[in-house]
Symmetry: C2
Subunit: 746 residues, 2 copies
């Protein structure tokens, strides 16, 4: 308990003093024992790292002699420790310990699990002791929002959140609704809503909660996302005070389930050309919503098939003969008794690849009337006379500002992708650390993780997952703090990272499934659900390929701005400069250096990522310019260089990820964490360079010998990370019942 108090590093001196006071007033406590404890609890004189390490070793020794069933609370562990030190704990002392545990606000079993897990999860002789403080790593990854994360971990660990397999669709949907309601009761749903309408007023907390829920069933996650993020978020971001007051309390409590009806059968990514119409009728002061064709039906809409009662519907606003483009309207779709509202059609999307706990459906409207007040009117208003006003004059800009407020969905999906990668790696790494197959003649079979192919499959993905964690924390922080000034920047960042994170998740889960063989194919080991449910992440909240093009276009725009209107003179001048830089960097002494110190030099790594991005950007600009100058339509020109566009967006995203990772390591004060993260960062950087060595060789940035040296270095780093792989996945802090998979445990 003392260990947790200090190692957590988060107790304020005032809290520690409270514990001391508590100790002092405990009846029946042995005085020596009390003094001993108080000695450890002097805020002026905290224990050293060495003290804590010694303490941890003692805790683990004591725990090893306890029956597994009893290792549930810190208090019980403390009693055992005392016994090991020859001290018989009295009933009163035990009570005091339990009281302190409660005061500390820790989930005892969770804390004990974290303390002991490296020992349990690496039972084979090949597993090294953790080279870093596990709890501190979790704390670092958890970041500022660690309190809400721990709260959600606690809720999800409750028995009623146990996974149930083999449910049919109806029961699964009902189960997911129950779970979502349980989270709403805990206030999770309204975390991001304003405090004056009963919300938590903390967007960052909502996002962190969402990221944590992504360790659990992903239908539940998407249910949250639909109800609180998209539906609630659209009212919050596109509506005004009267909408907030009227709806958000019920939305946050899940008393008013709703839909976010944007996508149409014929229009997914291309929101601008949606076909649903909302025509203003001044006689009745109403909008009339209508679906003009089957392709204009709202499709894949979560909550539509069963539970939703109100929907935010995106439609083309028409007033008389004027077309004002896409706007959002609140449309009642289902009555409280579950029947559909007049004029609203619905169809269940039926079975899906995954997320079958979500009642996706299609919606269509046959001249459905809603009051004028149901226009979400933050960015555009229509008065009773049908006069249209907007604080944003440009219709194009207005459209992008409206859509831009919804970037939270992309941020959230990027984070959810990260969590699913973590779950899959936790399962595959723990299994791989124990499962044996084949081996040298006459000896025990070899543990899977000791095979180079297995290391090659899992370790670079583990490193990328750590890298992404820091990049996405940065993204979330930027999003939470975003203003009109950096809106475009955050959107671009979110676009690239959403694509990168979700493709990484798809790839990682697939690899982990295969790495677990037949066991990975069984539903009970959860990779099946992770794979099926997360698959749509690459498609929804913006198709990844489309997002990368968005991002690249924004880079090009920035680039063009840098040179006025990208006139020939400016461009040529820049390109000249670029070549000069290239020559400077392509010093043969650098392109040929193959020593470890150089390869692990962050400057070299960052330089390589940066050079690639700049080179791709300037050559893309040149290619685009050539086409535009020759009179080609800008759309056609972009299509012709689309593979280049995608390569640029990926290179840009990887540079950002590496930069964030490097900056986070620099900012980390714990040297053991810094060393471990540095190794992961080396692996991430060198593995990415290795993966793209075709490009680097082609452009003369690497020579052959260096490419080979990088490959050897990646192998060495894989082995090094493998030694710490189990504590590294344990540090993700996924509670055992949430991880679920039996193969992840002995």
């Amino acid at each position: 308990m003392l260990y947790v108090a200090w190692a957590d590093g988060d107790l304020e001196p005032v809290e520690i003093r409270a514990i001391c006071t508590r100790l002092g007033t405990t009846e029946g406590m042995d005085e020596d024992y009390q003094q001993f404890l108080e000695g450890w609890l002097d805020p002026e004189n905290p224990p050293s790292a060495t003290d804590l390490t010694t303490l941890l070793a003692a805790i683990r020794t004591a725990a090893a002699s306890m029956p597994a069933g009893e290792r549930r609370s810190l208090a019980a562990l403390g009693v055992e420790l005392a016994a090991a030190a020859g001290h018989e704990t009295s009933a009163a002392e035990r009570q005091a310990l339990e009281a302190i545990e409660t005061n500390l606000g820790l989930s005892g079993s969770e804390a004990v699990r974290r303390l002991l897990s490296p020992e349990r999860a690496a039972p084979d002789p090949m597993g090294a002791l953790p080279a870093f403080e596990l709890a501190a790593m979790t704390r670092l990854l958890d970041g500022d929002q660690w309190v809400i994360r721990d709260k959600v971990r606690g809720i999800l660990s409750r028995p009623e959140f146990s996974y149930r397999y083999g449910l049919d669709r109806d029961n699964y949907r009902a189960q997911v609704l129950d779970w979502a309601e349980a989270l709403a009761v805990e206030g999770i749903g309204a975390l991001s809503f304003p405090e004056d309408v009963g919300g938590g007023g903390d967007l960052g907390a909502f996002i962190a909660a969402f990221e944590t829920v992504a360790f659990h069933d992903l239908s539940l996650l998407v249910k949250l996302g639909v109800q609180f993020g998209l539906f609630g978020g659209s009212i919050l971001q596109l509506g005004t005070q009267r909408h907030h007051e009227k709806y958000l309390p019920k939305v946050g409590a899940l008393e008013l389930p709703g839909c976010f009806a944007m996508t149409e059968t014929g229009h997914g990514s291309n929101v601008h050309d949606l076909e649903t119409v909302a025509r203003f009728e001044s006689q009745t002061d109403e909008f009339v919503l209508h679906t003009p064709s089957p392709a204009a039906r709202k499709d894949y809409i979560g909550n539509a098939a069963l539970h939703g009662r109100l929907a935010t519907v995106f439609a083309q606003l028409e007033i008389g003969s004027e077309h004002h483009g896409v706007h959002a309207f609140l449309v009642p779709i289902r009555n409280e008794d579950g029947t559909m509202c007049a004029g609203v059609g619905v169809e269940d999307c039926g079975d899906k690849l995954g997320l079958n706990g979500i009642d996706n459906g299609r919606l269509w409207f046959d001249q459905v009337r809603i009051p004028r007040q149901n226009l979400l009117d933050r960015f555009a208003q229509v008065d009773a006379d049908g006069i249209y006003t907007s604080p944003i004059a440009s219709p194009t800009k207005r459209f992008f500002v409206m859509l831009g407020t919804l970037v939270g969905g992309r941020v959230s999906v990027a984070l959810a992708g990260l969590s699913t990668s973590k779950s899959a790696l936790a399962i595959a790494v723990r299994y791989g650390a124990r499962r044996r197959q084949f081996g040298p003649e006459g000896a025990a079979e070899t543990v899977l993780l000791d095979y180079r192919t297995h290391q090659r499959r899992l370790m670079p993905r583990l490193a990328t997952t750590y890298a992404l964690d820091f990049a996405l924390s940065h993204l979330a922080a930027q999003y939470v703090d975003s203003s009109a000034d950096n809106r475009r920047e955050v959107e671009s960042l979110a676009a690239g990272l959403k694509a990168y994170s979700t493709w990484h998740a798809t790839d990682t889960i697939q690899t982990c499934r295969e790495a677990c063989g037949g066991q990975g194919y069984l539903a009970v080991n959860r990779l099946a659900a992770l794979k099926a449910d997360s698959d749509v992440f690459t498609t929804f909240e913006g198709d990844n390929t489309v997002l990368l093009q968005l991002q690249a276009k924004s880079l090009l725009t920035g680039y063009a701005r840098q040179f006025g209107e990208m006139n020939v003179f400016g461009l040529a001048k820049y390109l000249g400069g670029q070549v000069a830089t290239a020559v400077a960097e392509l010093n043969p002494l650098v392109t040929r250096r193959t020593d470890e110190a150089h390869l692990q030099d962050r400057e070299f790594q960052l330089g390589a990522f940066d050079w690639r991005e700049k080179h791709l950007l300037s050559t893309l600009a040149r290619r685009m310019k050539k086409r535009l100058d020759s009179g080609m339509d800008s759309f056609d020109a972009l299509v012709e260089v689309q593979d280049h566009v995608v390569a640029l967006a990926e290179a840009h995203t990887e540079r950002l990820i590496l930069e964030q990772f490097a900056a986070s390591i620099d900012g980390c004060e714990d040297s053991s964490l810094r060393t471990m993260l540095g190794t992961l960062c080396d692996l991430y950087a060198l593995h990415r360079i290795e993966a793209d060595r075709g490009w680097f060789l082609e452009h003369g940035y690497l020579e052959s010998a260096k490419a080979k040296a990088i490959r050897q270095q990646v192998n060495k780093l894989c082995l090094k990370v493998r030694q710490q792989a189990v504590p590294l996945v344990d540090a993700f802090g996924i509670p055992d019942p949430v991880l679920g998979a039996p193969i992840a445990f002995s």
Copy 2:
């Protein structure tokens, strides 16, 4: 009908004369009409390609004026054609036409579909007319076994084989059993069994049928594979005449459902170390089967949870104190009334990622007694006195010979992977040819297939699928004709191609799912099932990573044999030769050539693949030798160079694929097919070189300019293949009802 008769190219003159006779004896046929038809049916004077093309155009014009519902038979089409030519068809003539259609032995609706499909599936202005004869391409892909393939297509197109969505597990398993029984009734199950026990005596036909069934539900496929391929196959290959007579008739008719119980919970790939024991007891003349530990339970066994009554069980044979290694035994597990046999335990594997129509289970044995005769004794016999004899003296060799007979499973899975790739591509290409999203300002939205990124995603995979088709046909033929002499060679070939084909399938299905966006996520569009069900292909019948190592080891063995025992002298001499070759090939005039003629020169492509493989093999041998010479255990040495091992196996497999593709093109007599396949082959070869350009650049085989030229060439080839993409997937010959996915149709 005439068109089909000729274009199919498969009618013998004698058959054509039979049609003429039939025409001559038809009552009430207009004489002019009859002569006209006979003019087209002169075997001595076949119509020219131009005639046939003109005829096809006329057919399509006529068909366009027919209601879709009526385009079901060739006869109906003929009547319409005649009407277009001003001829009113009499009832008798119509009857005669129908009789001929039956005589031709064609599935009318299928033939009509094939005739008309390119027009229907490429309705957009961007789709070019097919540059090749679609039916001829299908015929080429179908190969020698086209009759059985068409038969299976016909069966699977029946209404009772329609897909049903949302079935619960029990009903799904029952449905799959029904389907399997329907196929057994048609004789598909017993195709490979000897004719003297009621089988078809045609292993090639069974494999082709299996490949075709893989266009349909994959649980059905695996049900077939388990029952007829693995269970029946083990009796056929490991048993002797009395086993064949006693069991195969019932196995082939699916009257005796059975299991293939090899894998154990603790031992998947490592069959050698299975733990289940079969102890011989001479007093009772029985074997006693026993499961000594939970890890020794037979696991993931198809047919075990519900339907299986008899199982081929692999167990360690013990006679007294002698251990004879793994042998196969027939063990009754379930009585006819569905209850378990005494001593046999069973547990359902429960929900799985996919293949939920298969009743996988775990089996264990508690001192289960079976008669001595139940040893499958082709390769080893035990007499009543417990004397063990075998025609193969070496236990190691015996073990590998026994396992080797089961290579058919790998061949079949490789082919199934190919079929699933075809289904996914057929869906995604047809959808991509119609679906529009975004576009230039003021114009219609652009068809997905016209985006370069979309072409880059689908076209290389389409080319690889064609490439694999020829390589796997070669593999199947080699397997069907295999003897003791080339057994190892076929095994090695099967190992590499199984891994390549199944990984290709996983990758292709994933890409196709993403390319279809939200539509791809709906169960009804079949990509969900394809993805989930085929996923385990990479794991079962040998884990892919393990298979690649098997293959590489066999290459190393062959290499070592080439130099005696790989002594330093021989090796050094060889390596000297290798370097000389390398220098010769690395002529700067070649490494720098970037012209299209050179890049599309098959010699250049084959040379690159071959050089890569030789280089990887010789350097691997050198690295292995260094380690072995320094006293390292061979197992440890292999683990250290495992990434190199895998790269070699992949390079070897790709070289084989390209060689087979090139040889098949050379052997193709139809010039339009040859041109089309040549383009696909160029795309396959150059795309693979592009994908591995890091290696080629690193080893000096390419220079930068050439790598860039290859990238441009791949883009050009993608565009070229895109123009023919719809007919190319139509040529796979997947019947519409079997393809299923509504998005694949207008």
